[in-house]
């Protein structure tokens, strides 16, 4: 489902964020991506979503060479992925419901079908009662869950998350981790970049550890 072949990403002036990274993730796996801050976890996820392109090597998602995708094809790749960003990237002038609605509006779902799906996603992360709330009125844990709801509302086959439990207290972090386990349970391929391996260890089938841009 996901395959990296000797992938390198170099930022000017000659800093290797990733170097010679190769691994494979099968469909339905839950993979943890560990490593210290600055080890290249975020860069790796960005290559998967074609937010950045590899300097060399090949990134394959569903057999598609993501690094060589034409600009016009990138949106369609991203619609098949669920992305949870480190800084969440919620829109603060829209309420919870509208934030989760955005991916469906982009994909062109009818308003009626969208509303059903949005409520289902909000229900899944326990935010159904707060659909009218603006993100600013939500706690850190609630914001993180809202970001997850937005990532999964389009029912992606692959869920990518970048430090989804950073800045959360241990109990809230456990709740959030449980949500990812639930999605893994129903067959979604999950790739989580985290420094807190123990939290997700239960269902993980593979642990990758990055150190200075290399897998160790």
């Amino acid at each position: 489902m996901i395959r990296f072949e000797h992938v390198a990403r170099r930022y000017p002036p000659g800093i290797d964020a990733l170097a010679d990274v190769s691994f494979e993730v099968a469909s339905g796996e839950m993979v943890l991506l560990g490593g210290h801050s600055g080890a290249g976890k975020t860069t790796l996820l960005k290559l998967l979503a074609a937010i950045e392109r590899p300097t060399s090597g090949t990134v394959l998602v569903n057999g598609q060479n993501v690094g060589a995708l034409k600009r016009a094809a990138i949106p369609y790749l991203r619609r098949k992925l669920g992305l949870v960003f480190q800084d969440q990237k919620l829109l603060f002038d829209r309420n919870a419901f509208e934030n989760v609605m955005l991916p469906l509006a982009i994909a062109g779902f009818s308003p009626k079908e969208s509303a059903k799906r949005v409520r289902a996603a909000l229900d899944k992360v326990g935010l159904l009662a707060r659909e009218k709330a603006l993100p600013i009125a939500l706690s850190g844990g609630e914001q993180q869950r809202l970001a997850i709801a937005r990532a999964v509302v389009g029912r992606p086959g692959i869920l990518l998350a970048d430090e989804p439990t950073a800045h959360l207290d241990p109990d809230t972090a456990k709740d959030v981790a449980a949500i990812f386990h639930d999605f893994h349970q129903v067959g979604v391929t999950v790739l989580i970049a985290t420094y807190d391996d123990a939290l997700f260890a239960a269902g993980a089938s593979q642990r990758l550890r990055l150190s200075h841009g290399r897998l160790s």
């Binding site: 016009a72 991203r78 509006a105 994909a107 062109g108 009818s110």
Partner: protein, 301 residues
């Protein structure tokens, strides 16, 4: 409803909401566009009225005429002979005879001249003909005048085309003026839209970035801004129409009074509907163009 229609409807309502979200800014933009477009639209309105006034529609405001006056001692038989010769001319479309009695009667009807004419011992007017040429080109009418002036008992031949040409030249100048205003202020509209769209894009930066990350195609991101530009242009065009209509209403009275002093009856007509629709169409498309240029510039950066 299909997805395509839903997305367009959404983009359209978004644009409307953005216009309504900052009413003062929108109003000022609309006013700027409206005033800019009111200049050429007002010019077109005045030009239309000028054409109306000189009694024609389109380019042929008045056809040139040749007037020929017979000698005072020419009798009716001579006049009949000349009438026949005129009708035989290849280039004569219409020949109209104005007898000396008719000319006198017409002049007596004019208030200012009645007293003067009454004081005259006898009718000072000659028999006359008015000829409308078939070929209205200056060369053809001039050669016709030349030919007729050599006939016996023809005292004077006058080519009444100078004023027509002057009028034509003035109207042409007016048309060029309106065209130039349209071009310049149309460019102004594009510039105004360019700037407002740029500001909108900057204000929506977070939303655009997130939408891209969530898989929005470029067309999805741009569509609302196109609608915004076109709507703003269209509304500005409507403002221009209002301004010109108000101008017409305000000027109608004074113009009629002024015309009264010259013994003419003039009603100032509002901008023709076809011109108004053209104005709206032009304003809408120029707004769209401004948005397209602005978005093109934005995606390059």
């Amino acid at each position: 409803m299909n997805a395509w229609l839903v997305q367009h409807l959404k983009a359209f309502t978004w644009a409307l909401r953005r216009l309504a979200a900052a009413p003062v800014n929108s109003l000022l933009s609309l006013l700027a566009i409206g005033i800019a477009l009111a200049l050429p639209a007002g010019g077109q309105m005045l030009l239309g009225n000028a054409l109306q006034f000189v009694g024609g529609s389109g380019n042929h405001t008045a056809t040139p005429q040749i007037s020929l006056f017979l000698a005072l001692d020419a009798d009716r038989k001579t006049a009949d002979g000349i009438a026949a010769r005129l009708k035989n001319l290849a280039n004569a479309k219409e020949v109209r005879f104005v007898s000396r009695e008719e000319a006198l009667k017409r002049m007596q009807a004019n208030e200012g001249l009645a007293d003067v004419i009454a004081a005259l011992p006898k009718n000072p007017f000659p028999d006359a003909f008015v000829v409308e040429p078939r070929d209205e080109s200056p060369a053809a009418t001039e050669s016709m005048r030349e030919e007729i002036s050599h006939w016996a008992k023809v005292e004077h031949v006058q080519l009444d085309s100078a004023w027509v040409r002057r009028l034509d030249a003035m109207l042409k100048l007016g048309r060029i003026g309106v065209a130039m205003l349209t071009l310049l202020l149309g460019l102004g509209l594009v510039a105004i839209t360019f700037t407002t769209i740029r500001l909108q894009v900057l204000a929506q930066r977070a939303e655009i970035e997130v939408s891209r990350l969530l898989g929005a195609a470029e067309s999805f991101i741009r569509r609302p801004f196109y609608y915004f530009g076109a709507l703003q242009g269209l509304a500005g065009g409507a403002v221009a129409w209002l301004i010109v209509s108000a101008m017409t209403a305000v000027l109608a009275g004074p113009v009629a009074d002024l015309a009264q002093l010259y013994n003419a009856s003039v009603t100032l007509m509002p901008l023709a509907t076809s011109d108004a629709l053209l104005l709206l169409l032009l304003a809408g498309s120029l707004g769209w163009l401004g948005a397209a240029l602005s978005l093109g510039q934005h995606s390059q950066n």
